[in-house]
Structures are given as structure tokens and as C-alpha cells.
Amino acid sequence: MSAPDRVAAPFGRRLLEVAGVDRLGIYRVLRVADPDGPQPVAGQFAMLAAAEGWGGGEGERPFLPRALSIARVRDGEAHYLLEDVGPGTRRLCELTAGQQIWVHGPLGRGFTAPEPGRRAILSGGGVGIAPLAILQDQLEAAGHPTLVLLGFRDASRLPGAGLLRDARLASDDGSAGHHGLVTELLAAELERDPRALVYACGPAGMLEGVRVLCERAGVPAQLALEAGMACGFGACHGCVVPRRGGGYLRVCLDGPVIDANELDHVDAHAGAPA
């Protein structure tokens, strides 16, 4: 793989303007005007904080910026997919066009393209589908066809699938597509043809399912992890996940995209702060 897996961020946070906020079911797509920002590698993320009203929410939070995957870059805007799951994401969901936001990024290591002969399977769950949208854009622009498998909890979240093209769906409540887990769709696809590279992002339980499935099938997988982090650039050592063979990886610097075979397992409790 010759393309770089990260681009460097400008040093220091930048004050940018919200271009708009779109609804996708219960999700929000936060669009931030960033005409001069670097072109991110799919899978990279940014640290976001509202310029006003950051603090003083539930429990007098938020205090730290929040790490969000870059979901898409288009027409001088960077898009972020949000779900209100805590005081930080709530405040970001409340933003409206014209308000200001601190952005620090792109950060971390992104996805790399599949080797010839392997098809790209993009498998996402819930709000974790975000980095797969920019990945689909970049892979298809480079001539790699993609198969997209997305899972959602319920009908209120299904509209999130609109972020990607031609997605096959699974839902926990059976409201659309396969009634069950997205990993069941993935298992059937790998059974049919294991010459694939799996790209996955979603809740920890789903990622652990993808990791185990791909390991058993001998299929390489790149997992985009989420972890609570204070800084996003390797300073705080707060976002670690267990590395296979001992020790830890920093999600912000060694990831967020990590080869499944580098991980001991995907841990569920790195999630806060939200």
C-alpha cells in the first residue's frame, strides 16, 4: 500500500463555522465549513468543541473536546455524524448554521486500500457508519467497488443508511432488511467469497464480532475504534486498547483504524466521555 495512512493536522485547534446541520432520523450530520483544511485520509478523525456553551451542561460538562470521525469531505465542508448520547454530543447536535466550532484535526491513522484481488466490504453499525462514507467515496474514486453492509438498532436510526450508497441493511428490530445483526450478513458474504478486506466501524460488541469472524475466516480486517480521549494527539495516553501480545495501543495515534490482528480483543469500556 503506497498511499499514506494519515495526513498531518495543522498545529493547534482552528475556529471554524458551522455550514449547516442535516437530520438523518435521530442522527445529525454536522457540516463544518473548512475550505482550507487538509484533505483527510478516510478513517481519520477530529476533536470538536462548540466555541460557545461548552461546559455547563449535564453534570457541568462537557469539558474535553469530542473525537468524531470525519464522515465526508465535500464542497469545502467536512461532515460529522452525531448521535446525542451525552452532554458533549448533545451540545454539538444543538449547533446551527453560522455558529462557531473549534476543530482540531485531521488526526490519527486512516484506512488503507485493499490489495488487488480482494473486494472491499464495508461493515458498519449505528453512528459508527460515519468513516465508511468517506471510505466509500475514496475507494470508488480509486476504482475499487465496495459492498456495504450496515446495521441499525431500530427504525429511528435506519435513515442513517442514507449516508452511504447501495447499502444492504440489518436491523435489530426487523424494521428493515435482515432481522438481526450486521455481522450475520458479513458471515454469509465471507462464506460466499473470502477474498475480501473487511472495513468495520461500530459499537465495541459488533467490532469484536467482526474481529472474531474475520480471524476464523482468515480474512484481513481494518477496524475503526472509538475510545474516550482527552487530546487526540498522543499526549494523554487515555485512549488505550489492549495490543495482541501485551501492552497497549493508543487509539488516537496508532489508530483509530487498527488491523484486527494487532488487537487482543475489542474492549467495551473505552467509550466515555460522550
Binding site: 498531518a8 493547534g12 469539558f63 482527552a230 498522543g234 495516553h237 485512549c239 486498547v241 495515534l253 469500556h269
Partner: protein, 298 residues
């Protein structure tokens, strides 16, 4: 703006708190943009221990009102890894003449922070640092328990004085003692460090804190390491009180820190007697915070 501190000439009075800015990691994230705008007038390393440490199991962070609790557990490569790998890389970075906030050529001095859990460990750490030209000063992290008594060495003035004296005998480099705020009488500890031969004291370290796991019927600690340290603007008034109290008692310079987010916060610490001010948690929120604070002091 330039400041003399323990014989070192610094471009401005703003440095980083140990463990809050990893210059090697930052170079991976920001590339050459970091070297062009290095935010600190001196660079303090993470705490280095004799043996390598993996750090505490996650979760390691908890967000609080106006702050955060960390329980990182001092992960580091150990003394040998630091001296062989990190120190030459840090020295090369600081050797870049553009590494100064005011555009003039002040090379950024490297301060190595060390912690030993026994007198022998500390002696080996200090001796090794004393022998390296790249290191301008040594900071002693004394916020570690005595392996026999379980009490923090830095919280007991008699023990602290003895530890500092032992280190003092091993190096002519400036010796900074990072005081713990988790002590009954912090100024007494500062005086003990001074009596032991410290060239400066730095404070405050994080305040001991815990977070309880959310949604759990039984009170259970959230952080993998059990207890952690509180930092951020939540501790700023405590820092101001302790820095003022210490600066009023010692004759050696004081490095003040704790919740500094702005030049106004830094100025307050300077006004109560600090010679330098360290920016810590605010660098997490904005990696260029040190430069912003320094510019605001002009």
C-alpha cells in the same frame, strides 16, 4: 519576555506540565508544523522510571465538571529506552532553531522527569541523567508511595528532604522537585525540598480523586487504576493557594501550575510568586495552548 530559571535562559515563562505533552507523538500528528511553532520555552518529559511500564488498564479517563481525572499509570519505555531512543529524538527536535515562540533562537532546554520507588532506583535515574549533556535539568516526581510505609514520599517532609539530598549529591544539574498537593502541609514539604538542596520546586501535581462507575448499584471505581488525579480549571484556585503559600516560604524559584487556560491565569500564578508557569490539561484541549498563553503575556 525571556526568563532566567536555575541558570537556564528561556524565551518566555511558559513550559509544559510533565505528562501532558508528548513531543514525539505530537510530531507524528502534526509533522513539521510542530517544530515551526513549538509552544513551550522548556520541554518537560513524561515521568521516566527505571524499568519500562505499560501503564494502568483502561479505562484511564473520566470527565468532571471543569476538569478530568486521569489514571494513566506512568507508561514509559524505562530509563534505557528513554536515553537510547527518545532523548536523541527530542534533542534533535529542540535543536531546530525555529523552536521558539518569539522567533528568536532560544534552544528549548529539555527537563527530564524521573521517579524512583526506592532510593537506589532514584539514584540510578539521577546518575544516568546527570551524565547526559542533552538534559538541562532534572525534575523529581515524588508522588509515589514508599514501598515500606505506603505513604507518598513527597508528603512526608523528613523523607522528602532525605530523598532530595541523595539526588543532590549525584548531579550538578538543576534539580526541580515536583511537590504533591496531597499533603497536610505543602509549604513544609517545599521547605524540606529546599533544605535537601533542590534548585526549584514545581506545583501542583494532580489532586487525588476517584470516579464511580455509572449505572452500578454498588459503589465501584470506574478507573482501571482505582484512584486517579484531578486536573483542569477545577483545581485552579487550589493551585493558586498552594503556589502562593509555597512562594511565600521558600527562597528558590517556583514553577506554578494547575488549571491554567489563559494568559490571565498564568499571570495570577506569576503574581503570587511563580517564576515559570506550566500548562497541562489545557494542551489536551488545544495543543497550541502553551503558545497562546505565552503570547498573551507579552
Amino acid at each position: 519576555m525571556s526568563v532566567e530559571f536555575c541558570g537556564l535562559s528561556l524565551a518566555h515563562p511558559i513550559i509544559n506540565g510533565s505528562g501532558t505533552f508528548d513531543a514525539i507523538a505530537a510530531r507524528r500528528a502534526f509533522g513539521e508544523g510542530l517544530a515551526e511553532a513549538f509552544p513551550f520555552a522548556a520541554y518537560v518529559s513524561k515521568t521516566i522510571t527505571l524499568e519500562s511500564r505499560l501503564g494502568n488498564p483502561p479505562p484511564r479517563l473520566w470527565e468532571t465538571p471543569a476538569g478530568m481525572i486521569n489514571s494513566i499509570g506512568l507508561p514509559n519505555k524505562g530509563l534505557a529506552g528513554y536515553l537510547h531512543e527518545d532523548l536523541p529524538e527530542l534533542h534533535a527536535m529542540r535543536g531546530d532553531p525555529s523552536c521558539s515562540a518569539d522567533g528568536r533562537s532560544h534552544p528549548v532546554p529539555l527537563i527530564t522527569n524521573v521517579m524512583g520507588s526506592t532510593g537506589e532506583e532514584l539514584a540510578r535515574l539521577v546518575e544516568a541523567c546527570a551524565g547526559r549533556e542533552e538534559i538541562a535539568a532534572i525534575e523529581l516526581n515524588v508522588s509515589c508511595p514508599n514501598v515500606r510505609t505506603g505513604l507518598d514520599i513527597g508528603a512526608d517532609p523528613r523523607q522528602l528532604e532525605a530523598v532530595v539530598r541523595a539526588a543532590r549529591d549525584l548531579t550538578a544539574k538543576p534539580l526541580i522537585v515536583k511537590l504533591t498537593p496531597n499533603a497536610a502541609d505543602v509549604p513544609q514539604c517545599a521547605l524540606a525540598a529546599q533544605a535537601g538542596g533542590a534548585d526549584a520546586v514545581s506545583l501542583i501535581n494532580t489532586l487525588r480523586a476517584i470516579a464511580l462507575a455509572p449505572g452500578s448499584a454498588l459503589a465501584r471505581p470506574w478507573l482501571g487504576g482505582g484512584t486517579g488525579g484531578l486536573s483542569g480549571p477545577a483545581i485552579r484556585p487550589v493551585a493558586l493557594a498552594q503556589v502562593a503559600a509555597v512562594a511565600g516560604r521558600v527562597t528558590i524559584p517556583v514553577v506554578g501550575m494547575g488549571g491554567v487556560q489563559s494568559a490571565a491565569d498564568a499571570r495570577r500564578l506569576l503574581e503570587v510568586g511563580a517564576t515559570l508557569v506550566a500548562v497541562g490539561t489545557e494542551s489536551f484541549r488545544d495543543p497550541a495552548a502553551g503558545a497562546r498563553v505565552a503570547r498573551g503575556l507579552l
